[in-house]
């Protein structure tokens, strides 16, 4: 990404149908736009999409906005978009060598009988360690004894927090809420 590019976050959710992505990318290609990052999934039976788009010029971005209006009518979706400022990360946050990073990456899986506040309790605990959640997947499924909630969270936690401390706190939370909690490090190994 260069400074001259225009970055835009675009999101939508609605009824899934064939050709949705194709129609959107066709409009994007027509203005020489680029998908820098994307998440597309089905959420509660609906198609949900968040795209990070880049446009070469202001005119291209304006032209794409016009195309979006037509796409909304054609696809029966409503798009929301937000212009993003350029974010330049400090070097220590983009270091590729895990040894140079100020944090460790973890993945925690939490599962148990569905009840209000599981995600809140887990995220509150992590926030208390100044951990930063980088991805989260939550799903309620029907289990043998009612609904089961499965939450998987990927997060970065400062290296100053010992793995054992983090695990002990999460296990205590699991015991308190009758949840299975599994924490593990997912740091890449530098070879």
């Amino acid at each position: 990404m260069t400074n001259s590019l225009i970055s835009v976050a675009l999101s939508t959710i609605g009824q899934d149908k064939p050709g949705l992505v194709s129609a959107l990318t066709e409009a994007l290609t027509a203005v020489a736009g680029n998908i820098a990052d994307s998440t597309m999934t089905r959420l509660g039976g609906q198609f949900a999409m968040i795209l990070l788009l880049e446009f070469p010029t202001e005119a291209a971005w304006l032209q794409f906005q016009q195309a979006l209006l037509g796409l909304e009518e054609k696809l029966g979706l409503v798009f929301t978009h937000k212009r993003l400022a350029q974010v330049i990360l400090p070097a220590h946050l983009v270091a590729q060598n895990p040894a140079e990073k100020p944090h460790r990456s973890y993945l925690v899986s939490v599962a148990g009988r569905d009840k209000t506040g599981i995600t809140f309790e887990v995220s509150k605990l992590l926030a208390g360690f100044e951990a930063n959640i980088t991805d989260l997947n939550a799903h309620s499924i029907s289990g043998e004894e009612g609904m089961v909630y499965i939450l998987v969270v990927e997060f970065d936690c400062p290296k100053t927090v010992p793995h054992e401390t983090l695990d002990a706190e999460l296990q205590a939370l699991g015991t308190r809420l009758s949840l299975e909690v599994r924490l593990r490090s997912v740091d890449a190994i530098a070879l």
Partner: protein, 177 residues
């Protein structure tokens, strides 16, 4: 024979390390026969571990042809991997996680040593899907689940939508390292 109940995550029996089998008696033969019948009752499934039917033992059954001819049944008791090759990522499903798939990296060629249901030792070399299935089932015997094997939530953990499929394992290769 009987069709057994399949335990789903997060049932605690799935986290139990299976005991080694030392007695190859009638009870074991019955369990194996029931596991085989249960396996064949799950459309698309090719493997089933004892933990999944609530028995924490070092036993699993597998039939790579379960979806069609049902003629490649193998029973593994007290299995050990004695050789393995480089890793490959495959997409796995699990009867105990009927709503998820996971991309898991495992050796694509293994040699496994195990006993059959009568206690006779054998060695078997397996590749690709069969090798993955054996390792997936051996994980069950040690209380390890596919959610413990993923490396990235974004790329390796997939919500299966909208219809849960009762496939035990593995539909496609997703990466060749």
């Amino acid at each position: 024979m009987a069709i057994l109940k399949i335990y789903k995550y997060p049932h605690s029996v799935l986290r139990e390390v299976g005991e080694r089998v030392t007695v190859f008696d009638e009870a074991l033969q019955t369990l194996v026969a029931d596991m085989v019948e249960t396996l064949y009752n799950c459309t698309g499934a090719i493997g089933l571990a004892a933990q999944q039917v609530g028995q924490p033992l070092q036993v699993f059954v597998m039939d790579m042809a379960a979806a069609s001819t049902k003629d490649r049944l193998r029973v593994y008791v007290n299995p050990e991997i004695i050789a393995s090759s480089r890793n490959k990522t495959m997409r796995e499903g699990c009867l105990s996680f009927p709503e998820y798939l996971a991309n898991v990296k495992r050796p694509q060629k293994i040699t496994v040593k195990a006993q059959d249901q009568w206690g006779q030792w054998f060695e078997h070399e397996a590749t690709l899907l069969e090798a993955v299935c054996i390792q997936h089932e051996m994980d069950h015997l040690n209380g390890v689940l596919m959610i413990d094997r993923i490396e990235s939530l974004k790329t390796d953990w997939i919500t299966r939508q909208p219809k849960p499929i009762a496939a035990e394992l593995a539909e496609e290769e997703v990466e060749t390292p």
